[in-house]
């Protein structure tokens, strides 16, 4: 009841609250560390450090003109780099810059409001870049923290615990409405372009150079998830195709123009001979993590008539891969039906044959010679491939994720060097060499990259494919079978293909990039089960929340309420709002009733407030009867009225009165109230 009293408003933020705000700022901004440029982070760190200095010595506040200078130069710097950053990022920079700088300019209530508002706005923008369960929860907690800091400003106590509880309570109360809005509010497409500058960090790369990387980037980050609607194929059949690399310049594998720059004409021509789909169908839903690339993952052969997606604009390519027209910048999903027994036998054109046979003439002579030798020895393509695999299997080859760098002996002979000297490498090395020899022996061959396998999560029945599942293998053209998949890695390390990375490989200091990853501690049973549980939880989050599209929304509304009409949506949201308010009202009805009865208390508090302004404050522990004596000493004019007023008040508070008596007392008190206020104004 006293909470509403404006007099309790404190002008200064308590120290504890200020620290909480400072912590809140650091946590919020730390969520954006990956998005912000180095110089901006430096400025932010400087501002926040200065803020700590102000905590210790309040006189150290920066001068207003200095602040203005920093603000102006910061804005100019953002404007200059704006072109590089793009609209979204430069706006984000501006926001974060303002947020950090504002902490040095906290002079009035207005500034305080602004900083809280900015904080909440930045929290919302964090969700543009990541919507994972963990980040979302963190953002939620920070939102609560922000609100509690705001609430604590008006709270009579300096302890932040109570406002924290209250704001959590309030936010939790708002959740049902938030869910209704989430489900029914029209889903708008984002009107910003998410920068794709991050392609270098995640996902597969668009070109492969064996020997150029000594340490394969091994990350346990999630690449995508798959939920099978039909039976799950065996592990060694889960070759998730992403890119076909058929252009080899002697060092680097790339996608040739034909498949890369898919042209409409070619696609139309192909639609004439849709691949023959035979065998059992495998139906699955793929949930992609943002990769900022175009590549989509699928098992061959995809039935392009059953490729369903409302989040991704898909394209089927002639090399049996699928692709999105726009980079994947947020978690999205699509449904695929594959016929894994079908042949990849769309006719090979002359151009394609030439591309897939091409090897540069000036390097790797020993492999070329090997290819020619095999060409003479085996006429059958399959037998020839088998012969190469036998060499790899029987000779002293090792599978390792940390192969030595290949110099190419100064003449670009990297593959020769690998095959005859170092003999250590990972999938890319073996696939490259194999493809190279096959081409040298006159069989069209190409390199395919993608992912192999995946981790099956029993709890939710989905497959999680991580970045460390990235793989490369070969496909060779066999005349009556089409493209046949050959995985040379299977020859050197069968375990990799049968069940994932082997233990020996894991001991090679695996995943040195992410120390904190739970995968590192996979050998501990409880951590592994925890990891799988978290994965299942995250999967559900992705499936239910992040993959909720306007199509799903449309289906849901049609299913529940018949035809989709915008007034229906409005009705649902309005109805939910009214329902929520009714529930709240019913829950609080007792409190509300009590409040309306306690009119006299409110009146008495008003008089106390006026007296306080006049310099006479009632100690909270002093009963009204005693206070009336004190008042009569200070304001002799009020004497009789105030003691009668106090008596009325006490009677109403503590006496058992009939309704009539109560009314009478209340009237009396009202009269005294008016008179006292009038008289006090004169004093």
């Amino acid at each position: 009841m006293i909470k509403g009293n404006a007099l309790l408003f404190k002008r200064n933020i308590s120290t504890q609250n200020a620290w909480a705000l400072w912590l809140c700022q650091i946590l919020t901004l730390s969520l954006l560390i990956n998005e912000l440029t180095g110089w901006m982070l430096a400025i932010i760190a400087l501002c926040l450090c200065w803020r700590t200095l102000v905590f210790i010595k309040p006189t150290q506040k920066p001068h207003r003109i200095l602040l203005l200078l920093i603000a102006c130069s910061g804005c100019i710097a953002i404007a200059i780099t704006g072109k590089q950053l793009g609209v979204l990022l430069s706006m984000l920079h501006l926001l974060c810059f303002a947020y950090a700088l504002k902490s040095l300019e906290m002079n009035s209530r207005k500034d305080f409001y602004q900083i809280i508002l900015l904080g909440i706005f930045i929290l919302a923008s964090v969700l543009i870049f990541s919507q994972s369960l963990l980040i979302s929860l963190f953002v939620f907690c920070l939102l609560v923290l922000n609100l509690s800091i705001l609430l604590a400003y008006f709270y009579p106590t300096t302890n932040i615990k109570k406002p924290l509880i209250k704001s959590t309570n309030m936010v939790l109360q708002s959740i049902p409405l938030a869910i209704v809005l989430f489900i029914f509010f029209p889903r708008l497409a984002p009107f910003w372009e998410v920068p794709s500058s991050k392609s270098a960090q995640t996902g597969l790369s668009e070109s492969v150079t064996p020997g150029a990387i000594a340490n394969l980037a091994r990350s346990s980050a999630l690449a995508f998830r798959v939920k099978f609607l039909t039976d799950i194929p065996q592990y060694n059949q889960l070759y998730w195709r992403a890119m076909v690399m058929d252009d080899f310049d002697g060092r680097t594998w790339k996608q040739s123009k034909n498949s890369h720059g898919f042209n409409r004409g070619k696609r139309n021509k192909l639609s004439g001979d849709i691949p023959k789909l035979i065998g059992d169908k495998t139906q699955y839903q793929v949930m992609l993590e943002p990769s900022y690339q175009h590549w989509l993952f699928s098992l061959a052969v995809v039935d392009k008539n059953q490729l369903v997606s409302n989040q991704v604009d898909t394209l089927t390519l002639s090399n049996y891969t699928i692709k999105s027209r726009k980079p994947i910048s947020q978690t999205s999903s699509y449904e695929v039906t594959s016929f894994t027994d079908s042949l990849l036998n769309s006719p090979l054109s002359f151009d394609e044959r030439r591309t897939n046979l091409h090897i540069p003439s000036d390097n790797n002579p020993r492999l070329k010679a090997e290819g020619r030798r095999l060409q003479l020895k085996y006429t059958d393509d399959i037998e020839r491939a088998q012969a190469i695999l036998d060499i790899i299997r029987e000779d002293d080859y090792h599978y390792t994720l940390t192969p030595p760098l290949l110099s190419g002996n100064g003449a670009g002979h990297e593959l020769d060097q690998f095959f005859y000297e170092s003999k250590k490498g990972f999938c890319v090395h073996y696939a490259s060499v194999f493809t190279f020899i096959m081409r040298a022996s006159g069989t069209p061959a190409r390199l395919v990259t993608g992912y192999l396998g995946g981790e099956y999560n029993k709890q939710s029945g989905h497959l999680s494919i991580y970045q460390y599942d990235a793989h490369a293998w070969s496909e060779i053209w066999v005349n009556d079978k089409g493209w046949v998949r050959v995985d040379p890695t299977a020859a050197v390390d069968p375990e990799r293909v049968e069940s994932g990375l082997s233990d020996t490989i894991q001991q090679e200091g695996l995943f040195n990039n992410d120390l904190l990853s739970l995968y590192r501690y996979k050998h501990l049973a409880w951590i592994n089960s925890l990891r799988l549980q978290l994965d299942a939880l995250d999967y559900q989050w992705t499936r239910l929340v992040l993959s909720y599209s306007s199509k799903k929304q449309y289906d849901l509304v049609t299913q529940w309420f018949g035809h989709f009409k915008s007034w229906k949506i409005g009705g649902i949201i309005g109805g939910a709002l009214i329902l929520m308010m009714t529930i709240m009202w019913l829950v609080n009805i007792k409190k509300l009733k009590k409040k309306s009865l306690d009119k006299w208390l409110i009146q008495y508090q008003q008089v106390l407030t006026i007296l306080k302004n006049k310099g006479l404050e009632k100690p909270i522990t002093m009963p009204a009867s005693q206070f009336s004596i004190v008042v009569s000493q200070h304001f002799p004019l009020l004497n009789s009225k105030f003691s009668a007023y106090s008596q009325c008040f006490e009677a109403l508070m503590y006496q058992e009165l009939s309704t009539a008596h109560r009314e009478q007392r209340l009237n009396e008190m009202n009269q005294y109230h008016q008179q006292i206020i009038k008289q006090l104004k004169k004093v």
């Binding site: 909270i620 522990t621 006496q655």
Partner: protein, 310 residues
Amino acid sequence: MQSLVSAILDQVGSIVLGKPKEIQLALACLLAKGHILIEDLPGMGKTTLAQVLAKSLGLSYQRTQFTSDLLPADVIGISIYNSESKKFELHKGPIFNQVVLSDEINRASPKTQSALLEAMEENQVSIDGVTYELPQPFFVIATQNPLMHAGTYPLPESQLDRFMMRISLGFPNVEAEKQILANESSHYSYKKLLPCVDTDKLIAMQLAVSQITVSENIIDYVIALNHVSRAKGFAGRPLSPRAGQALVSAAKAWAFIEQRTFVIPEDIQTVFSSVCQHRLELTSASFDVHEENISKQVIAQVNVLNPFGD
């Protein structure tokens, strides 16, 4: 009925000079059917107050001087074999009076103390397996010297709890002391006093006290006070629900004496120190802690108008 109250107060006040508040508290305690413990230095008028009160209320009373060799049988009574009638005959002790004055209760051994205190709680005594009801109304007015005085057995907490109030008289002011010294004879004049009320009237008054209104707001206030004493880090012992009951009863009696039909927070605050001080004090600390402080601490932490508010 109110005229009776003021008659009693006037009469007691004419003998015990300059202590109207203490007299009123003692009367309130008796009207609330509580026992009272008067603690002070020797010669402050404890016994006088007790005797004048008993006389004015018109009840049968007997005074017992407690000493370290006093036995339970001296208080309660004893069965003695009568050789003429060849039967055991009960010789009732001083406890079979409506008002029992136990002077210097803390000089008696714990055994004797507990015999008396049992009677206080149960309103009955058992002698040789036979239970005897005590006359009603039944009051114990006990006096004691401060604990640090030589030859005392401090009452344990559980027994202190049986006393609704503990009051101390303190030194009289100059006016009162002048009067006391001037009229040497008046000290014994209470012997000639006439009772102001009879038993029926007293019982009627007690009934009236029990009908005083205690609103929910007051209950909240009392509970809030109790909670303060139970909070972590509080310097005294926590208040029990019985303490809360005693507080409400005493406040009702106070409101009755103040001629009100309902209890206001001021009543609670007025009786709080007398009712709760001896329940809050740590026995071990009571030598050096100033007595009033701890009750004041409790009261100072509760907002009267919004007991549970922030």
